[in-house]
């Protein structure tokens, strides 16, 4: 059988890739959107404004970038991290050229939208950041690569290095890890939130300054066009959903982040300060947190409306939008044909696209149930909260708890493990 000579010589690169991709996967950001970088130098590649998911893992997550660590050697010993210095695992390091070569060849074959480059911290923050910066410069300047680059900001790196990196990267990010300072101190005493806040603030201020300059000077350079993001690990420490989302809200507001990611903790040790090996990652909780994040960013909700001292944790059996509606029945029923857009967005079973279509379509005549269904409204859910042109006359006013029971009884949710056998007689 013909075996390519390159395969034998390249067992080492295959081993490096397996180790360093495996170590990088817990940083869940997969976004490749937000860059309008054009290929105007007859080079290779361009950005795609909405990003492209080139494949999906067997656990359903999108893979759009080559996500690797430059090295998994690290001087820190954070309890939740598989690459912590006291963990006995295989260590490896790519050369700058190896990363550039992999990126270019995967990109040419349309496997990826670009590169996501992180690293363990070896020697010190600046030494590490310089190497990351060198990869970016080689790609952009020597290889005329215009595809997506997501670069991790190394906590503690100097401002000059961070500023230069921003000229070549599309997105930069740095992870909060734990939602509160106390949580972080418990598991990573060598780290603190200040080291994360400083660079987020610095990059944000640079971005604002360059946007101002662009109004006066035409040729200001691109600087982190796809913005910044951060990540919190969920479930390694006992913070409530309220703690998590209030932190997320503060970071969105103060640093104009594009995204906050919530990564369910996957146990990597038997240290009893955290969930031990074999504990299931909190996937349902993670899902509910993302739903809350979406309500804050696209549906006009304030975080205090969904989570507060009276409700510090999200409902498990229903999504946060339905949960809010049931706790606030005084706003319903909403008349589909007359209420304003902001209120239509709050109806359970109606998403942003449907809400927009409703507002446009009702200019031509009052909408009926069959039309709402065609538009894509989940009518079975929404019917408890709306009236439209041909809604049936209701003899009774139902309580929030009764409506919740109706919806759960009909629900096909994958999270409902037990059958709901309630029969309500009325």
């Amino acid at each position: 059988m013909f075996v390519s000579k390159f395969l034998c010589m390249s067992d080492r690169i295959r081993e490096k890739l397996s180790i360093l991709a495996d170590a990088a996967k817990y940083d869940v950001s997969c976004s490749s959107s937000g860059s309008n970088r054009k290929n105007d130098n007859k080079g290779l590649g361009n950005g795609h404004s909405s990003g492209i998911c080139h494949t999906y893992t067997e656990d359903g997550r999108c893979v759009s970038l080559l996500k690797i660590l430059l090295t998994n050697h690290c001087i820190y010993d954070c309890l939740f991290c598989v690459s912590r210095r006291s963990n006995d695992i295989k260590r490896a390091a790519f050369t700058v050229d190896e990363v550039v070569d992999l990126t270019m060849n995967f990109y040419r074959r349309n496997y990826i939208e670009g590169l996501f480059l992180s690293s363990g911290i070896f020697k010190n923050a600046d030494f590490t950041m310089e190497r990351l910066l060198l990869v970016c410069k080689k790609l952009r300047l020597e290889h005329k690569y215009n595809g997506y680059i997501h670069l991790k900001t190394i906590p503690g790196a100097s401002e000059d290095l961070i500023r230069e990196a921003g000229l070549y990267a599309d997105r930069m990010s740095i992870n909060l890890e734990m939602p509160t300072e106390a949580g972080l101190k418990l598991l990573a005493p060598e780290k603190n939130h200040e080291d994360v806040i400083k660079p987020l603030d610095f990059v944000n201020k640079q971005m604002i300054q360059l946007t101002e300059e662009k109004k006066l000077i035409k040729h200001t350079p691109k600087f982190v066009p796809a913005g910044q993001s951060t990540q919190m690990v969920i479930g390694a420490t006992p913070e409530s959903d309220k703690d998590i989302m209030y932190t997320a809200n503060a970071f969105y507001k103060n640093f104009a982040l594009k995204r906050v990611y919530y990564s369910g903790y996957v146990p990597i040790s038997n240290d009893t300060r955290m969930p031990v090996l074999g504990t299931q990652p909190p996937l349902l909780r993670e899902n509910r947190l993302y739903q809350t994040d979406w309500l804050m960013r696209f549906y006009g909700f304030k975080v205090q409306e969904i989570l507060n001292d009276a409700n510090p944790n999200l409902d498990v059996d229903i999504d946060p939008k339905l949960s809010w509606a049931i706790r606030n029945m005084q706003h319903f029923p909403v008349d589909i044909n007359t209420s304003d857009y902001k209120m239509i967005l709050r109806i359970p079973g109606i998403g942003v696209m449907s809400a927009q279509k409703i507002v446009q379509a009702r200019k031509f005549g009052k909408l009926r149930i069959d039309q709402l269904k065609k538009i894509g409204v989940s009518y079975n859910r929404a019917k408890h909260f709306i009236v439209c042109a041909d809604s049936p006359y209701q003899l009774r006013d139902y309580q929030g708890t009764q409506i919740k029971a109706f919806i759960l009884a009909e629900s096909q949710s994958k999270y409902l493990k037990t059958d709901n056998n309630q029969m309500l007689l009325f």
């Binding site: 295959r14 397996s18 996967k25 492209i52 893992t57 279509k357 031509f364």
Partner: protein, 254 residues
């Protein structure tokens, strides 16, 4: 009354012109490739005419904005028989009403075109995502595809802009035509394949000597990114339906 047209976009637009000229009342539009004569139905064959179809297209451009012109074009590319009728009646509806009528999502044709266009755009996006090039021995990057809808016209620009410094071919195996980029422009081509050639995955002896290595590295990478504790096959298949697995290097067994 049945209007038969030749299946082309110009033919469809000519049919609309004819309807406004003759006003025959209710009409069903059928493509000639799918037409079967019915005993009691009158039929009229539309002869495609460039001038008439240009006038209809110009008329549409005056009435609806670019995004709806694109939805119209995408619905046509779906090649779904029922879509032709909806396209026809959508155009009639647009011409007979005020500007802005395309926002009436209460109208069945508006909704139908919105849905067809969405499916076609989704397939286009999937092709941009799932096409995997293989580098042949003479430096050409080749990909054989078989999309649900005729999306090659829609993906041409994306690949031309992105892969400006390499020659590439994307070949629609079902529709038997393809796109070839020669470092300057994109041309339409047809390839006559030898018998028994595997058109989706050409034999390894034709490939560039490092192709196998990169293919293997990609499979390694794909395996490494998986988090076993979060396994969710249903979600995986929802995002990557099985009919696309034949394109994906990472899903090939060898």
């Amino acid at each position: 009354m049945i209007y038969i047209f030749d299946g082309s976009l110009a033919g469809l637009l000519t049919a609309i012109f004819e309807w406004f000229e003759h006003k025959p009342g209710k009409v069903t539009l059928k493509s000639i490739s799918l037409f079967q004569p019915e005993a009691f139905a009158e039929s009229f064959t539309v002869i495609t005419d460039a001038e008439k179809s240009d006038r209809v297209w110009a008329g549409l451009q005056k009435k609806i904005k670019k995004d709806w012109l694109r939805k119209f074009y995408c619905s046509y590319l779906s090649e779904i028989p029922e879509a032709y009728n909806h396209l026809f009646y959508f155009a009639v509806y647009i011409f007979q009403n005020e500007s802005g009528a395309e926002n009436n999502y209460g109208n069945e044709h508006v909704i139908a075109l919105a849905k067809y266009a969405k499916s076609v755009e989704r397939e286009k996006h999937r092709m941009e995502a799932f096409i995997r090039f293989q580098k042949t021995g003479d430096g050409m990057f080749y990909a054989g595809v078989d999309p649900d809808f005729n999306v090659l016209p829609l993906i041409s620009n994306h690949f031309k802009n992105r892969y400006a410094d390499q020659q590439w071919i994307i070949y629609d195996l079902k529709r038997k035509y393809g796109l070839y980029y020669n470092l300057n422009a994109v041309e339409e081509i047809t390839i006559s394949f030898e018998k028994n050639v595997n058109k989706a995955n050409p034999a390894s002896i034709l490939m560039d000597e490092k192709e196998e290595l990169y293919s293997v590295l990609w499979k390694d990478y794909f395996k490494s990114t998986n988090i076993v504790a979060r396994k969710n096959t249903k979600l995986h298949i929802q995002h990557v339906p099985k009919r696309y697995w034949k394109y994906l290097t990472e899903k090939q067994l060898s």
